[in-house]
Each structure stands twice: as structure tokens, then as C-alpha cells.
């Protein structure tokens, strides 16, 4: 018998228990994920741009490396701030437990920040050839750095909503959205073709991410009771329904429409508006998905 049927039959009510723990991973983790999406996303984008549109993307090496460096440090700073014992962060490197996505991710992120720091240095010294060689390895490492948070969420056995295949796809799409949106905003020197390419990346990534979200929204409850209970927070009069749909419109639906509109009209301003909306919306989307599984009592 399903839990909701038992509930209907027994009218069972918890009359005495400890309070439910408050949100364990708060907005600090949202900022962590959001900043990492930008930090790795811009690396993906500059990698493609330098190969597809080398002439117009030459000048972006230094600004992109600096943007990546800044947002990766924001990501690390908020990771640290979320620890209840931040001064023991070094334990991760000394007592590493390799089954933990947190330990593996911390190692990879540290190496990644090191590589991005080198990119900044090489771009500053205008050593373009060395920059491009190092960029290849940095881009390769950016893939697992982007994905490790998904595996961390998947290791949270208590949170049925977070499944590795969907979270991995969403992390990668978030990086593509954040990376393309950021470069749309800072890439004034890019050719129209390159800007259109970034628009396509933004629009298609938004479409794919939206399809995955809607798939989980509609079909998730058909698989697991816990997912049904969690998604109730973003359905109907659920307390996170408004935030969920605000995020979906800002990150995916409106940018998709605006990308199409910008292609038709040739307007860069509309494309920039799409980029701004998607960057704002991404933080909301990430936050809602982070919080709702934590609202469910575990015991």
C-alpha cells in the first residue's frame, strides 16, 4: 500500500517528535553552484570560440581567464563559508576519502583553479600559443569539475530527487548557459557570427534543460513516493511553486524566445537581455532544486 493510501486510511499524525532540521545546505551552496557554472562555462566557450572564430575572439583570452578565475574563487569562498568548521578545510587534502565526491571535487577544483591562474598569467604575457595549449587541458578538466557537484548530489541517498543522469546533464547545461550568457555580455569584440553561435548555445542549452526539468516535473512522481512528496512543493499551491516557475521563465523560456527574436531582428541588445535573464534565473532554478528535497522529513 502506498504511503498516501495508508495516510488516508489511518489518519496518522505525528504528535510528538523533535523539530525537523532546518535547511542543511542553504543559499551558500546555491551561490557555489551558480559561480562554478560561470567559472567553467566561460572556459568551454572560449575554447570553442578560439577554434571556430579565432579572429574575433583573440582579445577575449585575458578577460575570460580573469572572469573564470574570479567566479571560481567565489565558488571556493562560498564552499568554505558553508562549512561549519572552515578552518579544518585542509583535512580534505590530508585525510582524503576517495569515495566522496566532495574530496575528489575539492582536489579537481584546486588543480583547475591552478590551471586557470596560469591561463591568466599567459594571457597577461600575451603568450597565445602556450595559452591555447594549456586551454585544451583546462577545458578537459572543466568537464569533471562541472560534473562533480552532480555526483555529490547523487551521493545524497536521502534526496531521491537528485539522480545522477539528470543532475549531470543539468550541471553541464547550466555551465553552457552561464558560459554563453557571460560571453554574450562581455564579448563586444566578437563577430556577428560568433555572437549568433553563442545565442544558439544559449537557446539550445536552455531548451534541453527545460525539457529535463519538465520531464522530472511530470514523470518523476510516477516512479517514487519521495519524489512525489518533494515535487508537491513546486506544484499547485506549493510554497516554492512561484519561485520554480519564475526560474523556469527567466532561465529557459524567455531566453529561448529572445534568442529567436535576436536572430530574426539581428539585435545584440535582445541577445544581451536573454543573457542577463538566464544568469539571474539560473541562480533561482539552482536554489529551488537545492532546497525542496530538504523540506521533507526524513524520519
Amino acid at each position: 500500500m502506498a504511503a498516501h493510501e495508508i495516510l488516508a486510511a489511518t489518519n496518522a499524525v505525528v504528535t510528538l517528535d523533535v523539530g525537523i532540521p532546518d535547511i542543511v545546505w542553504p543559499w551558500l551552496v546555491t551561490v557555489n553552484m551558480w559561480a562554478k557554472s560561470i567559472g567553467t562555462g566561460v572556459i568551454f566557450m572560449i575554447f570553442f570560440l578560439l577554434r571556430m572564430y579565432p579572429d574575433s575572439s583573440q582579445k577575449l583570452r585575458l578577460p575570460v581567464a580573469i572572469i573564470s578565475f574570479i567566479f571560481l574563487n567565489i565558488f571556493l569562498l562560498f564552499t568554505l563559508a558553508d562549512l561549519h568548521q572552515p578552518l579544518r578545510m585542509w583535512h580534505i587534502f590530508v585525510y582524503s576519502h576517495w569515495t566522496s565526491a566532495i574530496a575528489v571535487g575539492a582536489m579537481m577544483a584546486t588543480v583547475f583553479v591552478g590551471l586557470v591562474s596560469l591561463l591568466v598569467l599567459l594571457a597577461w604575457q600575451k603568450k597565445n600559443e602556450a595559452f591555447d595549449k594549456l586551454l585544451l587541458w583546462t577545458t578537459i578538466l572543466a568537464i569533471p569539475v562541472t560534473l562533480y557537484t552532480a555526483s555529490l548530489m547523487a551521493q545524497c541517498t536521502a534526496r531521491e530527487l537528485w539522480q545522477m543522469p539528470t543532475e549531470a546533464a543539468q550541471m553541464m547545461l547550466a555551465a553552457l548557459i552561464a558560459g554563453s550568457a557571460t560571453l554574450i555580455l562581455v564579448g563586444n569584440s566578437l563577430s556577428d557570427e560568433a555572437k549568433r553561435f553563442l545565442g544558439v548555445v544559449l537557446g539550445l542549452s536552455a531548451l534541453m534543460a527545460f525539457i529535463i526539468f519538465m520531464s522530472e516535473y511530470i514523470f518523476g512522481p510516477m516512479k517514487a513516493e519521495e519524489v512525489t512528496a518533494v515535487l508537491a512543493f513546486i506544484k499547485g499551491n506549493g510554497e516554492w511553486t512561484t519561485a520554480f516557475w519564475l526560474g523556469q521563465w527567466l532561465t529557459y523560456l524567455l531566453p529561448m524566445l529572445l534568442v529567436v527574436l535576436s536572430r530574426v531582428s539581428g539585435s545584440t541588445a535582445i541577445l544581451k537581455l536573454a543573457a542577463i535573464l538566464s544568469l539571474i534565473g539560473l541562480a533561482i532554478v539552482k536554489h529551488v532544486w537545492l532546497i525542496i528535497p530538504q523540506l521533507l522529513p526524513m524520519s
Binding site: 489511518t10 496518522a12 517528535d17 545546505w25 562549512l83 578545510m89 580534505i92 585525510y95 569515495t99 565526491a101
Partner: protein, 212 residues
Amino acid sequence: MQLGFLVDLHLCMGCKGCEIACKVENEVPLSTWRLRVKYVDVGTFPETKRTFTPLRCNHCANAPCERICPVSALHYLENGIVNIDKERCIGCAGCVMACPYGAIYIDPQTQTADKCTYCAHRIASSMMPACVVACPVQANIFGDLDDPASDISKYIQRHQGDVKVRKPEKGTDPHHFYVGGGEVNLNPLASKREKGHSLFNNITTLPVGGHH
């Protein structure tokens, strides 16, 4: 040796003696619990009854908390106990997020994760866990699951059809069993949890790590 726990819910009368014994033995701070007894009322007045369910760490053989801990603060002892080293814990709360039983909390005094250890320090001195000693009706049965002659193994053999674990679908292989437990006792989704609906207080949400 694989130590395990069994609670016979037919016997438990909700006295909370185990809860208090645990608090005292392990100096568990205010607002946090390693072990607590949950009351769930079933039925509609006047046809109602109250159920009591002691809840603690399940010391899973496939523990998500142990797996996710980046510094091995959560680790297995040779006797199967999932122990915690609070000096090593960095307070990332990954274990709190991973545990499907809500058995781990952030200690507001040390700002590190903490949970039931089956009183590992007492076990090391050949003593029973404090909650076992305190139970007036011997509803807590503790012992070696690998030993067919142990009390817990015999109890499981005698009540084979009535032995359950919480959330078996999670694949955690808990070393904590219940006899006489139904969905209402063991599945948090099978009971309503109304805000402000509590016998003795109206605290419904606890700040993690003691921050307000």
C-alpha cells in the same frame, strides 16, 4: 562481529527513558538528539491509538554517510559500528544530507556532525549501550548479528515474518531492526506532520548547527 540493534515496538511504551539515558551518557546538547522516540497517533477519535518509535542511527552496512564523508570522519569500526571522529569532521554536512533516516545532526557546541554510535565507548568496555540498560521493558535488543546464539539473532529468528528495517528500498542494509513496526512507524511519508501540532511544544523547525 557485526553489532546490530532491534527494537520490539510491541513492548515500547514511549517512556523516553532511552532518550534521556542517551542524552546523559553522551552529553548530547540541547535541541539535538542521537536517539529519540517519535509519537504517532493513528485513527479518528474515539477510535485512536498512539504508537511509539525509537529512532537512532541505523549503522548501515552500506552507509551513505560514510561514503560521502570527505575526510573519513565517519568510519566503520571492526564490529560494524559507524563511528564518528569529531576532531576530524569539517562540518560540510554531506552526511546530514546523505542519511535517509535523518539520524545525523550538526552539534551546536562543536559545529561538527554527530550521531548515535551505539555507545561505542561503552561497547569497548564490554558494556551495553546506555539506552539498552535504561529500557524498563527490554524493548531494545542489542548484540552480534554474526553470532546465531546472540539474543538479537535469536529474536530475529523467532519473529522472522515481523522484522523490518526503515526504507529498505534505499539499499543501505541497516543494522537496526524493528519488530511490530508498520508503515506509520517506519515511513515518514505515512503520517501527517502538521506545523505546531506537538504535545509539549510548538517547535517545528530546528536551526542546523544552532544558528538562528
